[in-house]
Symmetry: C2
Subunit: 497 residues, 2 copies
């Protein structure tokens, strides 16, 4: 019998190597983790070091650490990977075709696994979950919740890693609620972004528990860069736009509910939000990650509550949160990703979604995932969950890449993650294009004149003029041949050569 | 005082020309109508005939009739049009750039108008709604519900057309529920697809009522073509796939909830559904339109209930329904589009969505709207509401167009309405490609070998081989340079020339 602050009851305590034996060679690993925190570490590493001939399918809620997306990949143990990744090692393998990667909206991945045939039905599925405490039929997740409730429910077997480096007090953040099975799925009973409706524990069938592994190792989260001049200019443009919008719409009479995308720009925008003048309205965060920028707002009393699925903090941000976990937990709630990113809740709360993209095109489509249309970066993540269902969908990005050599406003993006139907407003360091209620031709003018970098505007105008004429060979006047979304398809991807 | 079966109370009865005077020259017209039925007829026609210099913004729930999208357009009275249109006259104007058209997911258009700034805030908005009966502060909609509740709530003025050609008994079909204002929006309280939770009437502020116009004129709906050999082959492939899927997934233990897209193929697929062997499971329809094909299933007792926003029937289908409206109303419920197409309900009910597309690409993106990427057909409609939120998202289309001269399976679609993240399964008359859990490279193989027409497979393979090598000039081996989504961008749109 294990009885401690961390372990309770008759648990199958094993070392990592023994626990790894519970994983068949072709298993589906359903791992905890989101925002590069709260992922299992010991068992994936033991699998990577095992020398076995593995062909695993690895499914996570979001991004995880190097034990999974570097070590396991370099051991050639990963055959398939869903729905998101953010490490150079797996990115290279995905782009070489060595790992079969399918990029999915993260809100639906729990359902995809449990009901939707994402994982081959003849494979044994093993959930491997990091926890700060565990009993015979329950566990308390660590720094992220992700799709852990769905994965534990769907898995054939369960391995729990109880990590002493993660504070026991993380229990205070979690609000575990797993939506029921359709068609009798009830509405998620969360009536305001900060409300708690569930339990801090994930419960499971004790018959599934194959091993509990103890370890003491910190997350290896990504670090955020310092805000750049472009970041600050984008933030200033965004704040100016938001200030006018919250005055205009009755949706924001009393509060503004916001989501920001994952990454350094999102982090910088979160931090800059404190400078926005929104009168006496409450600011509320309803998103998928708590990044360092939000801690400042919480400390300054500017944020009423924050809902997310991950404490995606830098190492120093974790230190700051861990030192004062009880206080932060009063205003911060962690939810499963199918709740944090729920289309229904994003709609009901009237969220303003602010996400980034690699590039946008003249008609308002956004590429968030594939450089040059072909080379995967990380994945679509939750950006589509928010952009599609938000009351207002903003995409914020610098107007150029590669030290100004490449325009991020292009005639046609070579990969579309967010269509013209889901992009309301684009913000760059140059300005703001409010695309609502505009035709594609109007959008092109707004995006080129307000958002593109001046160095590229003349070439963009030349492309669009040619497109409206129907291409170089066309003899019609402007407008006669170009169509609703004018393009010169022969030059759509070579306009700047 | 008007007191009849149709009119009740002290109503401002006007002829159509007088009612048209309530519409300022630059008004936003918020019109009823969806699926080419239930749209206002007399006042739009009077506006078209008025000789006034109009610059209207016209917003509907979905497609409407010729009085709006032909006559008003030909009178050069329409400056802007949202979110869907399906008549040749307006299509030509949209593609010439004469009408500024913005294509939106129809579920959100009520919110877009009421809160989201879709319509310029300095324009007077006039809701013009067809009804089968009206009083001083209520109306009963006719053959579609569309976004009427939101439009009536958002509008500055209201004009009601009471149409004696539409049966009074249509009242029995409507279930009017308008979601509240975020962030205090409650969950939509519909717990099963057939449940009624609202009222058959749309209520309004009597101070808005500018005119009531009486008329007696039928809808001018589109006609469905007879199913073709391709339609029947697609239906057979779809049924075979569905039969296996309902056996596989616990989602379908007791019932199968289905949506089919608008149009002749959707209509044919609905009709063919009666041939699917789904054991003793209930079939339930949760979609946006009731088309003729569903009436057969209802008559045969194969369909337990049907939820939609429009009785988008042919003229003969309307005759059939009108002759027996009370009986059909027992199993058919019409909802506002923000309920019929609600992301939350589609998710909660675990709907299988079956939509069509102009073309799909090798990596699973679908173009539903713009031929050649530039020329708008109708709009995205509700296909994205369903495809994104469905438990299973199927796209069904013939493998070729133009009598076999053009492949509908292409390397890269020139316009994306549904991304790879939202397309689970593709069905053509050739076969079925189940894309779930596959990498883009695997998807390309499945789509070319299972779904493309044999006449095009060799050319598609050649493109994909070249793309995987990284283009014609590449010296790397297969896989080394192609990336996650291999493309040869110089030839992506000229592969078949």
């Amino acid at each position: 019998m294990a009885e401690s602050d961390r372990l309770s009851g008759d648990l199958p305590l094993r070392d990592a190597e023994e626990a790894a034996d519970a994983v068949p060679d072709d298993a589906a690993l359903l791992v905890s983790g989101f925002g590069s925190v709260g992922y299992p570490k010991a068992v994936p590493e033991a699998l990577a070091d095992s020398g076995r001939d593995l062909a695993l399918t690895v499914v996570s809620g979001g991004s995880v650490g190097g034990e999974i997306d570097a070590a396991l990949v370099e051991a050639d143990a990963v055959g398939r990977r869903f729905p998101f990744q953010a490490r150079p090692e797996i990115r290279a393998a995905v782009n070489d075709g060595r790992v079969a990667f399918a990029d999915r909206h993260v809100a639906g991945v729990g359902d995809d696994v449990q009901y939707g045939g994402l994982v081959a039905t003849d494979a044994t599925s093993v959930a491997i979950v990091e926890a700060v405490a565990a009993g015979e039929d329950w566990l308390v997740p660590s720094t992220s919740l992700g799709q852990t409730p769905a994965f534990v429910e769907a898995a054939d077997r369960l391995v729990v890693e109880v990590n002493a480096a993660q504070p026991r007090a993380l229990e205070r953040f979690h609000d575990v609620y797993r939506p029921g099975t359709p068609p009798d799925r009830e509405p998620i009973p969360v009536d305001s972004p900060g409300e708690r409706v569930g339990s801090p524990r994930v419960e499971f069938d004790p018959g599934k528990l194959a091993a509990v592994v103890e370890l003491d190792r910190r997350d290896d989260p990504y670090e955020f860069r310092e805000p750049t001049a472009d970041d600050r200019a984008i933030a200033a443009n965004l704040c100016e736009f938001l200030e006018a919008e919250v005055e205009r719409s009755e949706l924001f009479a009393e509060s503004v509910r916001l989501q920001f995308g994952v990454g350094s720009l999102g982090n910088a925008l979160m931090g800059a939000l404190g400078d926005a003048d929104v009168g006496d309205r409450d600011l509320v965060y309803f998103g998928e990650v708590i990044q360092d920028g939000l801690l400042d707002l919480l400390d300054e009393g500017l944020l009423r509550s924050a809902s997310a699925t991950s404490l995606a903090l830098s190492a120093s941000g974790q230190d700051r949160l861990f030192a004062d976990a009880e206080r932060y937990a009063e205003d911060v709630v962690l939810r499963p990703t199918d709740v944090s990113n729920s289309p229904a809740l994003i709609d009901r709360f009237g969220v303003v979604a602010v996400n980034s993209a690699l590039e946008v095109d003249a008609y308002g489509h956004a590429n968030s995932t594939n450089v040059g249309g072909t080379r995967m970066v990380n994945g679509v993540g939750g950006s589509g969950d928010f952009a599609r269902n938000a009351a207002l969908s903003v995409f914020a990005l610098p107007s150029t890449a590669s030290d100004g050599d490449v325009s991020r406003v292009v005639p046609m993006v070579p990969h579309v993650d967010h269509t013209e139907h889901d992009v309301d407003v684009v913000v760059t360091e140059q300005g703001v294009a409010d695309l609502r209620g505009t035709s594609p031709r109007e959008r092109a003018r707004l995006l080129v004149e307000e958002c593109a970098h001046p160095d590229f505007r003349e070439r963009l105008r030349a492309y669009l003029d040619r497109a409206r004429r129907g291409g170089d060979d066309a003899d019609g006047g402007e407008g006669a041949r170009g169509g609703h979304l004018p393009h010169d398809l022969d030059a759509a991807f070579s306009w700047d050569e």
